[in-house]
């Protein structure tokens, strides 16, 4: 007889194995087909380092902006009793399900030179946003911030709100309570949300190419470079993909030890 505790029933085992294969095989393919012989010359080719640096800078900037705007937003969603909160939450999570290209078009309509705000920015301050590095950051923030918001909101809901009551009875106003009690309590959740947000920003493609274009040095991030390389030099595309994969996995593993393990434990507790 099958040991019920360790055995996996066949109707679950087979699809699960197929699922693993489906997720892992493409990555294996990337490794198998990589031009290991010319790897170094490919890596040091002009443009690769530039695209990588731009990707890292923009993804980090997008994560920082998401933290500054997203954590307070998550607090409002989780703690305030304002009416229309469910509508607000739905609006905030729209970028999660919106095709990124559509997001790019929408950003263009608002911040483009003929856009609602963009026109005014150009007339008054002479600022043009589309097709610049700031446009990359804006596009990535638009797409990635909801990941941070919903993660932090979940952490806030899971955190025991009675600690905030205690802080209030100890003379802490709401701002002090937020800084000294709430933030430390949900720090693991914020860390997890930041990693998700950063990883999403790093891989952003659709909104970026629509709103920021594809200019080497200013707006061409790694995903854009990969796509472009695939058209003319598939080997280069594989190398760039490997780099992007290595950076993502490396960051995830690095942060996993420091933060995410604790986040998992904290959420289970």
């Amino acid at each position: 007889m099958r040991n019920r505790r360790s055995g996996v029933p066949a109707p679950l085992l087979i699809p699960a194995s197929l699922g693993v294969a489906f997720l892992v095989l493409p990555l294996v393919g990337l490794l198998v087909r990589a031009p290991w012989g010319t790897l170094w010359s490919q890596l040091t080719a002009p443009g690769v380092g530039e695209a990588l640096r731009l990707s890292l800078v923009c993804a980090t900037a997008a994560t920082l902006i998401s933290l500054v705007l997203g954590v307070p937003l998550a607090w409002v969603l989780a703690r305030s009793r304002a009416r229309g909160r469910s509508v607000l939450r739905a609006l905030v999570t729209v970028p999660l399900v919106l095709p990124p290209v559509v997001g790019g078009v929408a950003l263009f309509l608002v911040l483009g030179r003929q856009g609602i705000i963009g026109r005014w920015l150009y007339d008054v301050a002479g600022i043009t946003i589309p097709f610049t590095t700031p446009a990359v950051v804006i596009a990535e923030t638009f797409v990635a911030m909801p990941f941070l918001v919903i993660t932090v909101e979940g952490a806030l809901r899971a955190a025991d709100a009675r600690f905030e009551d205690v802080a209030a009875t100890l003379g802490a106003d709401r701002w002090t309570t937020f800084r000294r009690v709430t933030l430390p309590l949900v720090a693991p959740g914020i860390a997890a949300g930041s990693v998700l947000c950063w990883a999403r920003a790093l891989g952003e493609f659709g909104a970026t190419i629509t709103f920021a274009g594809n200019f080497p040095g200013t707006t061409q991030t790694m995903p854009l470079a990969v796509y472009l390389a695939l058209q003319r030099d598939p080997e280069a595309a594989i190398v760039l993909s490997l780099v992007l994969m290595a950076v993502s996995l490396g960051t995830l593993l690095l942060l996993r030890d420091r933060w995410l393990g604790r986040a998992g434990a904290g959420m289970a507790a």
Binding site: F163, V166, A168, T169, L170, G171, A172, R180, P184, L185
Partner: protein
């Protein structure tokens, strides 16, 4: 440092309407079953919940007056609260937990830590300041929570079931310590509890709250000697029989009659202690005036005695020794005769 509170709150099924008055240095216990509104009352006084109507004033300063548009937020009220689960901040050391209330009020860190250290010593946690809260036992955590609540020298101390999360042995020691700290505390204290022993041991006065209203108030002795509701009677281990006095007997509202030693008249309570009820298998000889047939419906061991719940015309609780329980061959369902001396029945006006 006196408290005068009139609190009206309607929340779901709860309709709370309670008036409290506490003098300087006095400890008032709010005793009541779960869901009676005790914690809601405490949250209103702490400022964590807005009352619908009423008024809360401490030392003449108004904290809550919805009609007058006055509402002092919780962090501006000079109070300390100890919750049932100590609720020490998990991200701070024990010392920084105790220092928290001083830091929020602008005391510099070294000074606040020194004061916190002194308080930790006072509650018997000297040298444990560097620990994380999860490294403390339940009793230690509750002591630290008390130190944290008292460190800011509040006018009002609110204790919300401070001992009920502790195991029986720890509860005894922490209760004794708490009694000492409350005696030294100059401000007023409100102790919310469902444990009559806490109320009797710690409070100067007891207010019994049931279904959102005060049903009885008095000193612990008064309340335990002359309970006015079944809930209190059960807590202090008495059978409470409401009736109407006529000479030396009381006609019970539930039917039947109880003979008493003193003359009474009008609506009264007759209270019977379980240890003064005797049980027999057949109607006892002689002519005791209080003899009723009854059926044993429940029996629970209670130290060396067995507490027997009796159903019949006159519902009673009887304590019999384990030996006589066995000798009588009692079991739930047994038909018995219960007898009480008239002199053992306490009577007081309703």
């Amino acid at each position: 440092m006196s408290l005068a509170a009139a609190v009206r709150v309607r929340r779901g099924a709860l309709d709370l309407d309670v008036d409290l008055g506490i003098a300087d240095g006095e400890v008032l216990a709010v005793l009541g079953p779960n869901g009676a509104g005790k914690s809601t009352l405490l949250r209103v006084v702490a400022g964590l919940l807005c009352p619908d109507a009423g008024r809360v004033a401490v030392d003449g300063a108004v904290w809550d007056d919805p009609a007058g548009g006055v509402r002092v937020p919780p962090h501006e009220r000079a109070l300390g609260v100890v919750f049932q689960d100590a609720l020490l901040f998990p991200h701070l050391s024990v010392l920084d937990n105790v220092a928290f209330g001083l830091r929020t009020r602008g005391v510099r860190r070294p000074v606040a830590r020194q004061a916190a250290g002194r308080w930790l010593a006072r509650v018997g946690l000297e040298g444990l300041g560097d620990r994380r809260p999860d490294e403390l036992s339940g009793g230690q955590a509750q002591r630290a929570a008390l130190a944290r609540a008292l460190v800011g020298d509040p006018a009002l101390l609110l204790l919300d079931e401070p001992l009920s999360a502790l195991d029986a042995r720890t509860r005894l020691t922490v209760r004794a310590e708490l009694r000492r700290h409350l005696a030294e505390f100059a401000g007023s204290t409100v102790l919310v509890t469902h444990d009559p022993v806490d109320a009797m041991a710690l409070a100067d006065r007891v207010v019994v709250v049931e279904d959102g209203g005060v049903v009885q108030a008095g000193t612990p002795l008064e309340v335990s000697r002359a309970p006015r509701t079944d809930y209190v009677a059960r807590l202090v281990g008495l059978s409470l029989l409401p009736g109407t006095g006529a000479g030396t007997s009381v006609r019970l509202d539930g039917g039947g009659e109880v003979a008493v030693a003193e003359e009474t008249s009008g609506p009264v309570f007759a209270a019977v202690r379980p240890e003064s009820v005797a049980l027999y298998l057949s109607r006892p000889d002689g002519s005791p005036r209080n003899v009723w047939p009854a059926r044993l419906v429940g029996a629970t061991p209670h130290g060396a005695t067995v507490r027997c719940e009796l159903a019949g015309e006159v519902p009673l609780v009887a304590d019999v020794t384990a030996t006589s329980f066995a000798e009588l061959g009692l079991a739930p369902g047994s038909e018995v005769w219960a007898s009480v001396k008239a002199s053992e029945v306490t009577v007081y006006a309703r």
